[in-house]
Symmetry: C2
Subunit: 346 residues, 2 copies
Amino acid sequence: MVTLNDIAAKLGISKSTVSKGLNNASDVSEELRQRILETAAELGYSGRRAPKKLCIFIENMGYQDPNQFGYDLVAGFQEMAMSEGWVVDVVPLTEKYQRGTSYQQFMSHRGLRGAFVLGFSLLDPWMEEFRTAPIPTVLYDNCIKENPCMASVSCNNAGGLSAAVRHLYGLGHRRIGLLCGPLESYVLKERYSAYCGALKECGLPVDEDLIGMGYYVAESTRKYLPKLIEAGATAILCSDDSRAVAAYTECYDRRLNIPKDVSILGFDDQPIAAYMTPPLTTVRQDRLALGKCGYYALSCLLNGVAIDSIHLRAPLIVRGSTGPARGQDAVPSTQLKEEPLDAIGM
Amino acid sequence: MVTLNDIAAKLGISKSTVSKGLNNASDVSEELRQRILETAAELGYSGRRAPKKLCIFIENMGYQDPNQFGYDLVAGFQEMAMSEGWVVDVVPLTEKYQRGTSYQQFMSHRGLRGAFVLGFSLLDPWMEEFRTAPIPTVLYDNCIKENPCMASVSCNNAGGLSAAVRHLYGLGHRRIGLLCGPLESYVLKERYSAYCGALKECGLPVDEDLIGMGYYVAESTRKYLPKLIEAGATAILCSDDSRAVAAYTECYDRRLNIPKDVSILGFDDQPIAAYMTPPLTTVRQDRLALGKCGYYALSCLLNGVAIDSIHLRAPLIVRGSTGPARGQDAVPSTQLKEEPLDAIGM
């Protein structure tokens, strides 16, 4: 069994310094502490005080403020993990960093036993490594089919999108547009194909003139929203609430009334959705629960249970931004008589 | 708060008899004990000794012997639930019983807070009630889309079937048959459409002459296996291991060598699969883990987390019953030279 003496000998420092480093004493520099931790991990030191450590990797997503998308995902995971004695590191990542360091190196150097991965795109360098890495890893809104060490957690994207399309169809909409992020993301691909599938189920064609995609939310919304309206869209589905916020701005600038001229529908139910004018109809992702399920899936993998995926329900929350379609007019008219809304208050 | 006195008053018996009934004392008749328990549940008695109770409903499935399919499903669920202080009733059911008693009645009369449902077909009377019942319920290999109180647990049936078809395709098989139970079952529908989807992915047509379905395993295998062979099948996928056992018997009777004349592939990895001659290539369902996930999903629902589904991986276990396809001969020949097997030992 590896002891403090082994770590001290390897680093050429005293045993008491090693002990201080492992216990976060203030008189050991951060740099030395890191070297001590890495050496401990390298040698396989599992002393009483060596913490059981997990990691959350996060990219393309804010998490430090309760209004940011990642906040509850991180909080839910941490709550569950810490109650079972884990220490959880939260590590924001960039593509560049991933290109310089391998996933396995990162994990083993820091003695991390598993990870929860948030916000990765399909182009992230580590996504390739995930296909074979023998490290228990749970991906939010991503899927690695080949590797039994990997599990997925997400809401039922297809179910949520399908409910959204059926809701609009029930309100008489037959020209339903889509504003969507780029398909370099697993979850956006999933939502895009769910949109196409739901249209088909309703007997509606998939019309490329009704679809606008782009990475930058405000720019691509400015570019595509007018095109969708011109192509006859009476309702617009947004692949996320941020895009719906941008769509509201565009509608305001163009004097389009929501929902009289156009219905707008989001995805996520971020905190702001209920306070928009009008309140946004959207598909809810329970992010706290998703974070908790992330920990559960990881603890299954750590215990040898080859979980594949966990899905949460994604209920449609109907508010004021969706209403009956305005006849068959392709161009919005402010002369249309007011029609009653079908919104269910929330 | 409801007390023992309230229950006693309602039943017109003494408080000490109520207490004895709740504590399973031997000098209280079973009939009276049931009346006491039901009255306690009806009044909402939650005394220190009133057990937290869950239920496993089981149909079309043995579970009392370790070799039976349901044994580990029940054991995994019970292990997790009991460690958290639940009492778990195991209730075998029939369709007839369901027609006479409603699900909600059954649950409330016995003070049951949630259920794990195994082996139900789509025709079971309670399946209709599940669409609206406000009771936390987890279904194994079934799916109720509309009701947020319901969750599903299953292995990744589509992934397992797809791996099976690709394995056979890689061995040169182009005529891949299917022996399957009837499509009155959600999971068999899922496996059937996964079979069709996987064939299409390999560029193979779905040929009805290569498909045989029937409820009774031995009878339908006897009827369809020769037809499939006549139609040119060089490999036969079975929707479950029991059907593969029946297929072995038919092959033996017809002097067909497995895998030289025909490859046979199962689904489940039941305990017997590894001991068949030759050992059966099959898709594994980890039933103990499925049972544990069943409890986890139920505890999520009981805590207000609207879990939709949990899937486990369904790995293909390659053993001796699958081998290279025998050329393009439609009729098996014992004159074929021996070909090396591609089996990976397990």
